[in-house]
Symmetry: C2
């Protein structure tokens, strides 16, 4: 086994009929990528193949000497589980039963009072040249070793078992210096700006540091930006990061992998402030998102789902005349919802949303996607009109993200500074 | 383009650095597989490759004449988006700008008041031999056509956009008889029972009809069962379906691809009945799910997010003594929440949930996952204790699914029949 240089390629082969029949998404590849993320920017590729010897062999045939090959799935005890046989045949080595493995399997079954199912003992067989890593979760061990000049790891496809074995595989690889050096990277998480605008804001910086690796991706809350460099490029990354900080400015809600609601939650908890919500079109999704993370009960008190106009009146105290004069999707109504909610729930802040998510309900003045947001603070209430242009589901998700980010902007500035003052909101129409 | 026989192979190429960096799981391949599920049992393989011309070309090079090739991702407007160029180069055809596409893109941007970003106009370029399918959700059109004797479909990688385009692609393929004949199938959607129990309930039927193809999969609401046969096997399918109807009985909420909340919504609308919710641990997710579908305002009125105990008192009218004596996660409190909500929102039905989603907050008596549900009807209130054994996110999702299904069971029986009377709830402990 030769130590892997920075050119070491991670190849993933995910095995299983269920991954090709629309039943199960391959999430294991992502787990493997994340476990190796500090060493390798990304996997070279992922091949998803069925439980068939020829398909598995063909996928392995596409790897080349020097590759780091992770194979997941097909290590169980049913007749479908063919990975061991297929790997041994591809490598031209024998399958050998290991007595300690067989004893461990028998002990496991005895302890659980289970009969020994036909075929389970094939889990004690290993391709020659591989060694077992004990599975902390299930019965199938992980297998690691060198075959045909590739470093190969075989892992079970059950996500919990794979997840349990991954740290052991990474440690095994690190001990043998089979992984490239850790690569430095920097991250920005932004909200309220579309991907194309984020790319545009970063363009001058990107042109000044063409040697860095740039990535952009959409999240539930907005757009993330990451730059990565070669080992030892920290000074270069820091210089570029200063320029990106300026370019993205107040649109950045986190510099690490924190979800937006948790950023707001942490800020509220730090200040001992409380929050409530009044929701029309989102009907609870905003409250749901604000309680995604454990610990949310320290700041989130509750809210009012005021889907029908009668509920806006009876729960949030919106006056009938406002509803009649301006309609449910209007600035006066959303302001009244936020202030009524803040009072009724006795919280420091309240968020209110009222919009037309679609597909029906639009008018010429208020087309589908028209959404009013309001933030009530201890000293002021701010409101803004947005227009989302996606389908019902996505319009509601965008409403949730933008509402939470609006409170984040209040907390970043001050209770009496309008969080809607900037003009970079991607879907806003005043 | 030659009509595809039953030997037609579906090859999927998923493109995107984010799929290889541990950030995003490839869920699109599953969507494609499901969209074609009536015609094809499974995909031949999935290749996940980065946003690089050579990698995309190499993946396409592995397909063969006669294949049906779905390529997803890399159709956006950033410099990373190389799919059009890579496909054109692989096919040896030119990229040509289409004037109607350019005009549509410009109109879209104008409507949104956005500047025209550099590069966006490349979305108006198509490899010669392909035609555009208008994207109902986003800006990038889907592209379909015949290249190098393969039928090729290019779809955007944003899941909502891909999902919106898939029916159009399938219709396009069906019109041209480019898919194998539809395989007749029957579907059952069940709630409240774990997958292993559903498999066990169906086992005798499966043994009586060994020639059918059986599939089981988890959904957001429960477990789906599908049986499929060869073209012409409808009589056999109907006979097996009768037996499965009996085996699954009241656990089936739909025999077609309807989401559970829509089943309940349709039933409420048909009867002119109304619904409200009182949510503690789910903090709005239940209301959010019940308004997923357009038309929900005809029956869903609103609700109370009573996350903090003070909110349970002030909003739902739960007495302080009940909370002190029994705790927030208890039968008396969840009953009081449901009844208080039904009264305050003036609805026919009310659902209430209160649980310990975790990871903290568990005790010996009420471990993490303990959840009380209540259904208040015009004539009675029913409650039951569940215990969910997953993580916080999944425990909350299970609570939502089980709560909605409990109302579905009331609507299927009668307002005064306990929906919790059966003993097959997968996570329940009395």
């Amino acid at each position: 086994m030769t130590p892997a240089g920075s050119g070491c390629r991670l190849r993933i082969v995910a095995i299983g009929d269920e991954l090709l029949e629309g039943r199960t998404a391959d999430t294991n590849s992502n787990r493997i990528q994340r476990a190796l993320g500090q060493h390798l920017t990304r996997a070279h590729d992922v091949q998803v193949v069925p439980d068939e010897r020829e398909s598995i062999a063909a996928a392995l045939e596409r790897t080349v000497p020097g590759d780091l090959v992770f194979v997941c799935g097909g290590l169980g005890s049913t007749p479908d589980d063919l990975t061991r046989e297929a790997v041994a045949a591809w490598a031209g080595v024998e399958l050998r039963e290991r007595a300690p493995l067989r004893e461990r399997l028998q002990r496991r079954l005895r302890e659980r009072g289970l009969p020994v199912p036909a075929g389970v003992m094939k889990q004690a067989q290993l391709p020659a040249g591989m060694e077992p890593l004990e599975n902390p979760v299930g019965s199938a061990p992980g297998l690691v070793g060198s075959l045909r000049e590739r470093t190969v790891a075989l892992l079970p496809g059950v996500p919990g078992e794979l997840q349990g074995l991954l740290p052991l595989v990474v440690a095994w690889l690190e001990e043998r210096t089979l992984l490239p050096m850790v690569r430095p990277a920097r991250l920005w998480r932004t909200a309220q700006v579309p991907e194309s605008a984020v790319v545009e804001m970063c363009r001058p910086v990107r042109e000044s540091w063409p040697g860095l690796r740039w990535s952009y991706w959409l999240t539930r809350w907005g757009v993330d930006v990451r730059i990565a460099g070669e080992p030892g490029s920290d000074a270069e990354l820091d210089a570029a990061a200063d320029a990106i900080d300026v370019a993205l400015s107040h649109r950045t809600y986190a510099r690490e992998m924190l979800p937006l609601p948790l950023v707001v939650q942490n800020e509220l908890l730090k200040r001992g402030r409380t929050l409530s919500v009044a929701e029309s079109c989102t009907a609870g999704l905003l409250g749901g998102a604000l309680t995604d993370a454990a610990g949310s009960s320290g700041c989130f008190r509750g809210g009012l789902i005021v889907y029908a106009n009668e509920a806006k009146q009876s729960l949030a105290g919106v006056s009938e005349s406002l509803l009649v004069e301006h309609g449910a999707v209007s600035e006066p109504v959303v302001r009244s919802m936020a202030e009524g909610c803040r009072t009724r729930l006795a919280t420091d802040y309240a968020l209110a949303v009222s919009g037309i998510s679609g597909p029906g309900g639009g008018t010429e003045d208020k087309p589908v996607g028209t959404t009013w947001l309001a933030v009530a603070t201890p000293t002021a209430t701010f409101a803004a009109r947005y227009r989302f242009l996606a389908d019902r589901t996505r319009n509601r998700a965008l409403t949730v993200a933008v509402a939470i980010d609006s409170l984040r902007r209040v907390l970043d500035a001050a209770d009496d500074v309008d969080p809607f003052r900037d003009d970079d909101f991607w879907a806003r129409r005043r």
